[in-house]
Amino acid sequence: MAKPPAPVETLIEQYGPHLKYTPEGGWQEESRHPADRLVKTHCCFCGQQCGIQLKVRGQKVIGFEPWEEFPFNRGMLCPKGVKRYMQNSHPDRLLGPLLRTSQGFSRAGWEEALDFTVRRVKEIQERYGKDAVAVYGGASLTTEKSYLLGKFARVALGTRHIDYNGRLCMVSAGHAYKAAFGVDRSLMPWSDIPKARVLLVAGANIGECAPITTDYIWRCRDNGGKLIVIDPRFTPVVRNADLYLPVRPGTDLALLMGMLHVVLRDGLEDREFIAQHTVGFEAVAESVKPYNPRMVAEKTGVPPEAIERAARWFAEADRAIAMHARGIEHHSKGVENCQALINLCLATGNIGREGAGCTMITGQGNGQGGREHGQKCDQLPGQRSLQDPEARRHVAQVWGIHPDEIPQPGYTAVEIMEAIHRGEIKGLLSICFNPLVSLPDAHFTREALEKIEFLGVIDFFLSETARYADVVLAGSLHEEDEGVGCTAEGRIVHINKAVDPPGHARTDCAIICDLARRLGKGRYFPYSKPREIFEELREASRGGIADYYGVTYEKIDRQMGVFWPCPSLDHPGTPRLIEGGKSFHPDGKCRFIVTEWRESGDPVDEQYPVYLTTGRVVSQYLSGTQTRRIGGLVDIYPEPRVEIHPRLAEANGIVDGDWVTVTTRRSEITLQAAVVKTIRPDTVFIPYHWPEDRSANRLTHRTLDPHSKIPEFKVSACRLRKAQEGA
């Protein structure tokens, strides 16, 4: 409601971000003592979900020990994983509920905070209707929490509007895979990567955003495999690429269609695979006819010879893998970009075999598990459609309600914020989401937050968004509760609890169940621990696409993860999907889908002649709520810089280190320049992990992909101006 209750400086002084550099008890003192126990669990950050052992002493996490037996990462960690334990005993940690006052936030008891939350939610729903309250979830939550939150929104609140921050991550890929294969998951385990003869990496800064995957790629090259990378930036892995395609932002679709054009022109397609396992080939073949290398080169800025070579390498290899991430997905044609890449794989028969296929590199920790079981606005548990009557019947039966009581699909994440802005949604309960930093067009998000009648936040740190809250419920860190997650590979892993939440903080599940009880729906939320939620989730997902029925915590521990679908207790799980070319569609065929070229939603012109693209750095994670509080990580890359090619810099009179104002049709921010030859000269790059006047998302726009509703973070139009000192 309205503006934050105190000046930002005051809130920062009280709630951070402060930088923590040393473990609890200091490097030389308490933390030196041997650990009581090592807790095997997984990193709390990205979709790689590296195995890690936390060193625990009493109720403190004092360090970590690599977990070399876990097969995915074999002990490997990026700096975020190494330093994640610094969140424990952090001075900024919320130790109890907070209520907004006229001067700031004041500590409150749980009874008071929960009663207040429920009273406000009820008032709004009684006055404006059930759908006037929305729920935001997140993909850092365990699968149990995601499931619980979906059920909470639909059963306890009865609102249509629940969506999650994975809307900013995996939905373009998910939509494309569902359309082509009937399933939303990586088609392969990572152990396939070193077996490919050609790897095509499209829009994935693997070294920084999926660091552990780097070793898989290097091993592929050790085995003689060739590496092709499509990226406007010469990212760290490009140094070892055999072919680099420096695509102009927003033109990936033309490039991928151009590659298919070459494959078909030269008769390199796999006719047998196409005939036996696919439908829709002819229309796609027709659609790529105009995309000759010369025309594609004009659009993309990639040399015609390079397009030809990439297409031929990919088609002529007996095993090729296409890997993609947000670089091709964060577009108003993000779904089509993925579909074009899938078309290329289908046409060349690179699907469903060892060392051949396509995979999305899921970005968020539980980006996979978090989207399968019901916090996505259009899905029920088991990756079931919310509009499928049979799915509604099954889930309603598990929940003990009538199918008609389950609301219909609601708005997606950005649409929810837009509905808040126009006054349609009046209240928001948010967990694990920092929209003020992560949504596009941050001024618009701020305006919406200023208008909202009630904002309740569950979080462990006071994020930039939580500063606008009426009530903050102190929740749990990743290591403070048990559950499961699902990795980028589709491997379900076991998150073990290492310590209790500190002070008066509580587990997220306990908070959500308590809210449900106060809303009079306690009988649907009888859980005392996550295992009970998981048992229900197994039933709810049973027979669905993401079938977890055969998964147990014990089986996960025994097998070091279980790949879904796993339909029965004696089923080992399914590491590779679409084997033998058989899709999840009723006819078992894979679908070619026609893609159509269109311009970005924020096109460059004379006034805004430069492309702006945004992304991540290796030492920070998403909106930085966690990682901007860890000194050792902040030191690696303390402030966002705008990457500019020397040619563009010179044309604008800018040298390395100058302050530069970057202006788009929304706003402007001023940052220091990093003048580097590792980016296209028509493009600048800004990482998005920071808030306020360093926020890249003040510049981005709200154009959404029409299918997936993902924002177009990867291309905006901007102009540059050298600024005065300091800014």
Partner: protein, 189 residues
């Protein structure tokens, strides 16, 4: 673990600095990182290099130490200076051809990579090589490293000074030593 060797391959480094951060966890120098890390030239390239002490067979740092404070163990590991002996003169810092030793002013002592002695002496792998996501730092069996495109070398020339080391540098196949000084290439009779 018997038979494991340390290999450094800057061509695989992605600049993530997990090694630097993990090094702080080692028991013998908690809170201090002993990794050397460079952005080669960020304007020109994303190339980065992370490396540890090369643990010379005849360590120059020990040879130049006036206080006899730097010791090499039988396992070939060259240690930080012995604190009671170290006079913090920085001779070693200046003499090391690889630029490895660090003078830690607060400790009044030279400290350096000891290949995670607390770990390697107890059969564990060094922290940096365990966590390194790109395995630019690797502590593995020679058979495993032999599968790589690049090949190991441990002979270096610094202007007529030949140095052989315990730690290997991964080189393009066919190149068995590294020499960076023109002196090593000219003919002087």
């Amino acid at each position: 673990m018997f038979g494991l060797e340390f290999y450094v391959d800057p061509s695989r480094c992605i600049g993530c600095q997990a090694c630097l951060k993990a090094c702080e966890e080692c028991e013998t120098h908690r809170g201090y990182s002993m990794i050397n890390f460079d952005f080669i030239d960020r304007r020109e390239t994303t190339a980065t290099a992370a490396y540890v002490c090369w643990h010379c067979d005849d360590p120059t740092c020990a040879e130049v130490c006036p206080a006899d404070a730097i010791k090499k163990g039988e396992d070939g590991v060259v240690h930080s200076s012995l604190k009671p002996r170290c006079i913090a003169c920085s001779n070693c810092v200046m003499a090391c051809p690889f630029g490895i030793p660090k003078m830690m002013i607060p400790e009044q002592q030279m400290m350096k990579c000891d290949m995670c002695y607390d770990r390697t002496s107890a059969g564990k792998r060094p922290m940096c090589a365990t966590v390194c996501p790109s395995q630019a730092l690797a502590y593995v069996m020679p058979e495993e490293i032999a599968r790589r495109r690049e090949k190991p070398a441990n002979t270096f020339y610094f202007g007529k000074q030949q140095v052989t080391t315990k730690v290997y540098l991964m080189m393009p196949a066919g190149q068995e030593s590294l020499s960076i000084d023109v002196l090593d290439y000219i003919w002087e009779g």
